[in-house]
Symmetry: C2
Subunit: 415 residues, 2 copies
């Protein structure tokens, strides 16, 4: 089963917000065996919306839209789709009532502007939206379907899971589009490609893609239009091959976050973790605490942005800072030891570097980062010079620092 | 001037990566007076790429693509576009030489797979890409233009700024598409809409959009196809009106980050800042240190994830924790005072809450967060119950904690 996605919003084309809905729809629909064959974004303009939806309907007969349904957006999507199907807009009493109740619960009377949100194309199925004021709409006529969802991500997500996917599941003829991803870090795309070699023929009809990001390179294999059990079997075999070839650079699959991997390694040892970070300024702790349940392993950390904190709270000797500079192997090792001692725990991560845009020197250019991982009495330190802007350098440093501890705990794989 | 953007990558349609390139292109092109009238995403499939580029060329005559140029992707975009223009691919000696030199600098010999990257459609202009191996390509014939850029964001960004925008500037007939954004936080979209009122007629021909996110609601005004000076004058007037109506909820314009605003407020007082955070686990420090030059104001912080850190490093009395719980007004106030004393500085932010998915109770449901801002001897504390998942709750809490200090320093606007 195939459909097209049309995301509506001038701000998307102006690039003033990033279109996360398109990605989220693609992921959820693929999981349900529905292939998004094209995604189009158009502005909040009636003619543009109508043209994009009409063309997509002509190509695939099934279109899912997001956006253009909110109270401040003049409901233009609904009006254009109704026009395309030759249906009038009618006031839906149930929608109006639930809108009024929602405002009542919040202790307010409903502004008149919200009343148009209760109008729906004649014959449309209303998809209730408990998270917001604009309901979703499912319009179907002579085999052509347009499903309209609001653009607010949390509302879109709820309607998709609760209303749209169950209806699509009933239509699916039994094949799925499914992927598996092998995640690597600490190795460049071309080096990884050489290690993996010419695997495409072996894994066919699955396809393989290399996806580099600041967290590393992902190897994604995809099964297209196979039966679910066949797809799962082939994907499992391909993932096993890819993991073997990526070897120590592989830290997990699919959505696995490196921070969760490290937390699991420590949990298995009943060890507790602390972090001391300078240039990453809280990002390593942020990555760790983004993992639900981190609190049984992660105690806390120190953001030692100023040298006064490095010496005052982490016991880094001022002589080390003076002699080697804050971005150096002796200092990062002293930070890891200091924070471990301060919190009296088993494991520690430390990071110090130059994230830019200023602060670089010929010897230590912007992007120079020293990282240390410590477990019991063993410290491993690593210097890298990361490319990219301040944000990328910080994100790469956080990932590499977590990876350093992963490799130390795994007992091998020095970078 | 108008063009269409085609982003290429199966992973985009499967939603396995978010298409940040589309947003970045839209923003940069709008700033250069070029309107992106449509954005299409298609899979890494020759027929899909050719159809999307051909249709876009028919509609607007000018297409910009990203993706499908990397060494592991079989260069399919280049091949399809060459076919569309009826041009053969030819080995470009200069591109081959620069590829070989790049590998030489990295101390490696060039894998054969990279050699096809030196092939270009006959007559194409090569856009040098110092950040990666795939150059950009500009193919132009009888008034139709296709510009191909790599999909790696940092490479795309560099080529756009250095090679594409200067060429587009020469073609622009003198009008621009330009926006200004007034950023608000701590007020809901519908409440903000009532404050702003029916301003659309007053600001016409500019258009207004409300853009809610975890950081607050942005008010965006856009001028379409006006002369640059006229657009600037009208946008400045509209932004002034919107700021006045948003009043204390407005913290800045355009890309202004709230953390940068707070840093500037503190810098003007010669004050220094520290942070103590529990449920946000480093995100508040991360927001602050993402701002270049934060180091003259921000000293550091403590991630007090475990209660042992709250009492041990922040001097929060164990009785307070026992009596009121970690998520309470007395504890958040004690955290702010403790971290301020510990680092001996003027200003402090503290956050403690329940980010979920577990840990909620009927009295303190998931999403309950206490925040405190402290300056000199004045503390302001605020409780909020944030909607959303763990990530959204943490992001909203970080923004609200920064906003609390902003309002305290501004001397008014209690939420």
């Amino acid at each position: 089963m195939k459909l097209e996605v049309v995301t509506i919003g001038t701000e998307l084309l102006l690039g003033q917000i990033i279109d996360t809905n398109a990605a989220e729809l693609g992921r959820a629909l693929a999981g349900a065996g529905v292939e998004v064959v094209r995604h189009v974004s158009v502005a909040d303009r009636p003619a543009a919306i109508r043209a994009a939806v009409a063309e997509a309907l002509d190509r695939t007969g099934f279109v899912l839209t997001t956006g253009g349904l909110g109270p401040t957006r003049d409901d233009i999507t609904k009006r254009e789709v109704a026009g395309l199907f030759g249906k009038p807009l009618e006031l839906d009493a149930a929608v109006l009532r639930s809108l009024e109740e929602r405002f009542h619960r919040l202790g307010r009377t409903m502004p008149a502007v919200n009343r148009t949100q209760a109008e729906v194309p004649a014959g449309a199925t209303v998809l209730p939206n408990p998270r917001g004021t604009a309901p979703g709409l499912w319009v179907e006529d002579r085999g052509r379907v347009v499903v309209m969802l609001p653009g607010v991500p949390s509302e879109m997500r709820g309607l998709l899971a609760e209303e749209v996917l169950p209806r699509l599941a009933q239509r699916n003829p039994g094949t799925v589009v499914r992927s598996r991803t092998v995640r690597t870090t600490g190795i460049a795309e071309s080096a990884l490609a050489e290690r993996v070699g010419a695997i495409e023929a072996e894994i066919a009809p699955l396809t393989l893609a290399y996806l580099p990001s600041v967290e590393g390179v992902e190897l994604r294999v995809t099964a297209w239009g196979l039966r679910a059990d066949d797809a799962e079997r082939r994907l499992a075999a391909a993932a096993t091959q890819l993991r073997a070839r990526a070897a120590e650079h592989c830290y997990g699959e699919d959505g696995t976050d490196l921070a969760a991997v490290v937390l699991n390694q420590l949990r298995a040892r009943n060890a507790r973790l602390v972090v001391a970070e300078s240039c990453t300024g809280g990002l390593v702790s942020g990555r760790i605490t983004a993992v639900p349940g981190a609190s049984d392993v992660f105690i806390g950390g120190v953001v030692a942005y100023d040298n006064v904190v490095k010496s005052g709270m982490l016991d880094v000797a001022p002589e080390l800072l003076e002699q080697h500079g804050a971005v150096s192997e002796p200092v990062v090792a002293a930070m890891a030891e200091g924070v471990q001692r301060q919190f009296a725990v088993d494991a520690a991560i430390a990071v110090t570097g130059i994230a830019g845009p200023t602060g670089g020197t010929p010897e230590k250019p912007v992007g120079t980062v020293w990282m240390a991982a410590r477990h019991a009495s063993e410290t491993r330190a690593l210097q890298r010079i990361f490319p990219g802007d301040r944000g990328e350098i910080r994100a790469r440093a956080a990932q590499a620092a977590l990876d350093l501890l992963r490799r130390l705990l795994a007992g091998g794989g020095q970078q």
